[in-house]
């Protein structure tokens, strides 16, 4: 039994615990063997050191578990992984068990037992709690060795500290999660595109397009199908441009989701190159529907505002008059000043210089006065536009609540037309007043003839009676009775003449203020009937006053009321001048105590459908008419709070009605 012996080569001194078996065949070769051994030992030392170095760098340790002796030996690195100082000899397994993270412990042991019992390889990832409390993640691998009978006698394995890798992986995972979650929240996604089509779509991008994130990125054709039909041509052109120009792009188009929802997707991309060679594009797709709708809404509102400003010729602005800085100046404001808004902003000084030279001094005083006093202002002034047109503006400035000196917001309106219309109205009013006077003068002319007859009649009669009286006296003997009778007639006739003159005297007063007194309408109708009798007779018109006993007295200007009656009665007579007829004047008190007068004729009636227009100024059907008679009538009646209107009679002719407040009502 000299043939050999088994030597343990001091495994404890060797890192990694590799078992070295040396066979000595012959003792005679011992010397040579010693030498060889020495060389070998050196080599061994070297490789042990290298192995140890390698294990340290890779954070890998190894162990041997003698299953028969139930003894475990660790490499130095394994000790370090466990946060322990490397030591000789077997390690206390109970302590190791304690160091495995409580939650992993059972699983690790069960895996080892399982491997020993049934399997050859085992693999387990678990946490280790170092003595200083630090938790490390390790991956253990083990191989079970069995003898010819299948009995397991040893387990050999490695343990790698994968904490750093694991943490990096988790960080990556987390950042990926954050990214995709961020994309989801931002309604955006990313993509990659190369010559073959879409290479990559992030889940966010699938969501943006309403697609299942587990699907494959669409082909270009599929993608175009997603695009809104109205944007499809545009999109096709963009894709073509991308492939030709290889340039950055950023545009927004609409897509239609499978549920029919239309979304606005902003698509931005940059070209991807590798060493100057074009590889494709990467980019993002963002659902900007809400922003787009908001933008559209904003645009619409701006358009409405601009439209409103343009319609009202009102421009808005905000500026600091002290610094001349303009914060806002609407297009209409520029247009009001005669500038083209598309030409860009105009400095404040230039706008101010447009002020009409005649208005500038006054404006300057008020304008700068308001600014210094930090007061709101409301100014009216003219400007001269670049083309020489003169416009009248009204500017309202509100001192900004920010209380910056000189800062104002306001609007400026072009009131030229309004101003012109106001002047025109004033002119028309004057004209109307003039015409009213002229009308009255004309009417006087017409009436003068009638009046002459009316007054001449009693005078002529009295002269004739006087002649007769003289002749009765010249009789021999004088016929005194007949003479007295003639004298009585003379008196009557003269009184009659005086009455006519009295009733008309008021017509000769012009321009006197409208003094109001309590007027008996019946009396006025009586006077007017007398006054117009001749005119009526000439046209074979009979006048029938039908005045109810309770016709209210009214508080009015006598002359004006006479004018109302004269106008309406002359109109009625005029309407019957070719046919003759009847002119009826009715007056009564209505339930509210107001006076209602109706002047009814049997004449030609009213122009069809024009019963309102006949009251308009200058509306006339008579060749010589001024068209103001009814206008004046209406303005008088309305000045008393009354109303005048016309109706067509059932049989023939027309009726003009007017209401006036009764005396008591007018007093209130």
């Amino acid at each position: 039994m000299v043939r050999g012996c088994l030597l343990s080569a001091g495994s404890s001194g060797l890192a990694g615990g590799t078992r070295i078996i040396i066979t000595a065949a012959d003792m005679t070769e011992r010397k040579r063997a010693d030498e060889e051994r020495q060389a070998l030992s050196l080599k061994l030392e070297e490789s042990k050191a290298r192995l140890e170095e390698a294990q340290r760098v890779a954070h890998i340790g190894h162990y041997e578990w003698n299953l028969i002796a139930n003894r475990v030996t660790w490499s130095d690195e394994l000790y370090r992984i466990y946060g322990l100082r490397p030591q000789e000899g077997p390690i206390d397994m109970a302590m190791v068990g304690e160091m495995i993270h409580r939650d992993d412990r059972e699983r690790v042991f069960r895996a080892a037992e399982e491997a020993v019992r049934n399997a050859v390889h085992t693999e387990a990832e678990h946490r280790v709690v170092r003595p200083d409390g630090e938790v490390r993640i390790v991956q253990g691998l083990g191989t079970v060795k069995r003898d010819a009978t299948g009995r397991a006698y040893e387990m050999f394995g490695t343990v790698q500290d994968i904490t750093d890798r694991k943490r990096a992986e988790e960080a990556l995972k987390r950042s990926q999660l954050y990214l995709s979650e961020g994309q989801r929240l931002a309604h955006m996604g990313s993509w990659a595109f190369n010559a073959a089509g879409f290479d990559y779509w992030s889940s966010g991008l699938f969501q943006v397009h309403g697609l299942d994130p587990r699907g494959k990125p669409p082909t270009v054709e599929e993608y175009l199908d997603l695009v809104h039909p109205e944007d499809r041509d545009f999109m096709e052109r963009q894709v073509h441009k991308m492939s030709v120009e290889h340039r950055d792009f950023d545009f927004t188009k609409r897509i239609v989701r499978s549920d029919g929802q239309i979304r606005h997707v902003r698509c931005a991309g940059v070209p991807l190159t590798d060493g100057g060679t074009f590889k494709g594009f990467i980019g993002t797709g963002i659902d900007v529907t809400e922003q787009e709708l908001l933008t559209q809404e904003l645009r619409r509102e701006r358009a409405y505002l601009a439209e409103a400003q343009s319609l009202t010729h009102a421009g808005s602005w905000a500026c600091n008059f002290r610094t001349g800085e303009i914060f806002h100046l609407s297009d209409e404001a520029l247009r009001i000043y005669g500038f083209d808004p598309s030409q860009g902003p105009i400095p404040f000084e230039r706008l101010y210089k447009a002020t009409h030279p005649e208005d500038e001094p006054a404006l300057r005083g008020k304008f700068y006065g308001a600014i210094q006093a930090r007061m709101d202002y409301d100014l009216e002034y003219r400007i001269v536009r670049p083309d020489g047109a003169i416009r009248t503006l009204r500017s309202l400035g509100h001192h900004n609540p920010s209380h910056e000196i000189g800062e104002y917001i306001g609007i400026t309106m072009d009131i030229t037309e309004r101003k012109r219309a106001e002047e025109e109205r004033a002119r028309l009013r004057q004209l109307e007043a003039d015409l009213a006077h002229i009308n009255r003068v004309n009417m006087m002319g017409e009436l003068a003839t009638a009046l002459a007859h009316e007054i001449k009649q009693p005078i002529a009669a009295s002269i004739t009676s006087a002649n007769a009286l003289l002749r009765w006296l010249a009789h021999d003997p004088p016929d005194l009775e007949r003479a007295r009778a003639a004298a009585v007639r003379i008196e009557q006739d003269n009184n009659r003449a005086a009455d006519v003159i009295n009733s008309l005297r008021s017509f000769y007063r012009t321009g006197t203020p409208a003094e109001r007194e309590i007027v008996d309408v019946k009396e006025i109708v009586g006077e007017m009937t007398v006054l117009l009798r001749v005119e009526a007779d000439r046209h074979s018109v009979k006048i029938h006053p039908e005045l109810e006993a309770d016709t209210p007295k009214i508080l009015a200007n006598r002359v004006q009321l006479q004018q109302v009656f004269i106008n309406l009665m002359l109109n009625a007579i005029e309407a019957m001048k070719d046919t003759g007829g009847e002119l009826t004047i009715r007056s009564r008190r209505n339930t509210e105590g107001r006076l209602i007068v109706s002047i009814i004729d049997t004449g030609v009636g009213l122009p069809a459908g024009r019963s309102e227009q006949i009251f308009d100024p200058f509306h006339t059907t008579k060749p010589q008419g001024t068209g103001m008679g009814l206008t004046i009538t209406r303005s008088i009646v309305e000045s008393y709070g009354g109303r005048v209107w016309a109706t067509v009679n059932q049989d023939t002719g027309a009726t003009f009605h007017f209401t006036l407040p009764g005396e008591t009502e007018a007093h209130e």
Binding site: T449, A452, H453, K456, Q457, P458, I459, A460, A461, S462, I463, T464, S465, N467, A468, R471, W472, H475, D479, R482, A485, A486, R489, Q492, D493, R496, V534, D537, R538, S540
Partner: protein, 208 residues
């Protein structure tokens, strides 16, 4: 009953004061006068055989004085008219006078102007009435002629000789002479010239 010889002045004026005054004035010079407010009232009155005239206001309610004048002509009532008016114009007065008015006076007028016009009008009415009376009497004489005598008279005043007349009516010249004598006697004509004048007054339509 007033004496038959007193002429009457009719006054139509819608102004009571005026028509009373005129009536009084007319009566003060001893003429008869009646006044009316309208033309119709006047027409309703029985016509008079005495000399009369009409003082007529131009402006009347229903029918103007000028229209009333035409109306009177239409119904064959011949009465001289004096127009009075508060303000007449020239065309109006021309039209009135052309239609046979005696005078056109503007109120107020001088009383003498009216009375003169009335006298003139009455004079004219008297002349007309006399003429009418004469024609009336001539008619009576003419009515007394036989048919043959009227035929002969017509031929005589047309200037035919007895011989021509005889051949015209198919009778002897002697018979014509007898008829002619009867005509002269019944018509109370002293000469052929007088007979022609009478025939003219009767406005006989002479056979050609």
């Amino acid at each position: 009953m007033k004496p038959a010889a007193v002429p009457t002045v009719f006054i139509i004026d819608d102004d009571r004061g005026m028509r009373q005054a005129v009536q009084d004035l007319v009566e003060s010079v001893g003429l008869g006068a009646e006044s009316f407010a309208t033309g119709q009232e006047f027409l309703n009155r029985q016509p008079t055989s005495d000399p009369s005239c009409l003082v007529l206001d131009v402006r009347l309610p229903q029918m103007s004085g000028l229209d009333f004048q035409r109306r009177l002509t239409e119904i064959g009532m011949q009465i001289p008219i004096i127009f009075i008016t508060a303000h007449g114009d020239v065309p109006m007065s021309v039209r009135a006078l052309k239609s046979g008015a005696v005078e056109f006076l503007t109120k107020p007028f001088r009383d003498q102007d009216l009375l003169d016009a009335i006298q003139q009008a009455l004079q004219r009415d008297r002349a007309v009435r006399e003429q009418q009376a004469e024609v009336h009497e001539l008619h009576g004489r003419y009515q007394a002629l036989t048919a043959r005598e009227r035929e002969v008279m017509g031929l005589v005043v047309s200037g035919m000789l007895n011989k021509q007349i005889a051949s015209e009516i198919g009778a002897s010249e002697a018979t014509v002479k007898i008829h002619r004598g009867n005509v002269m006697q019944k018509m109370q004509a002293g000469s052929l010239i007088e007979l022609v004048r009478l025939a003219d007054k009767l406005k006989l339509v002479l056979p050609k």
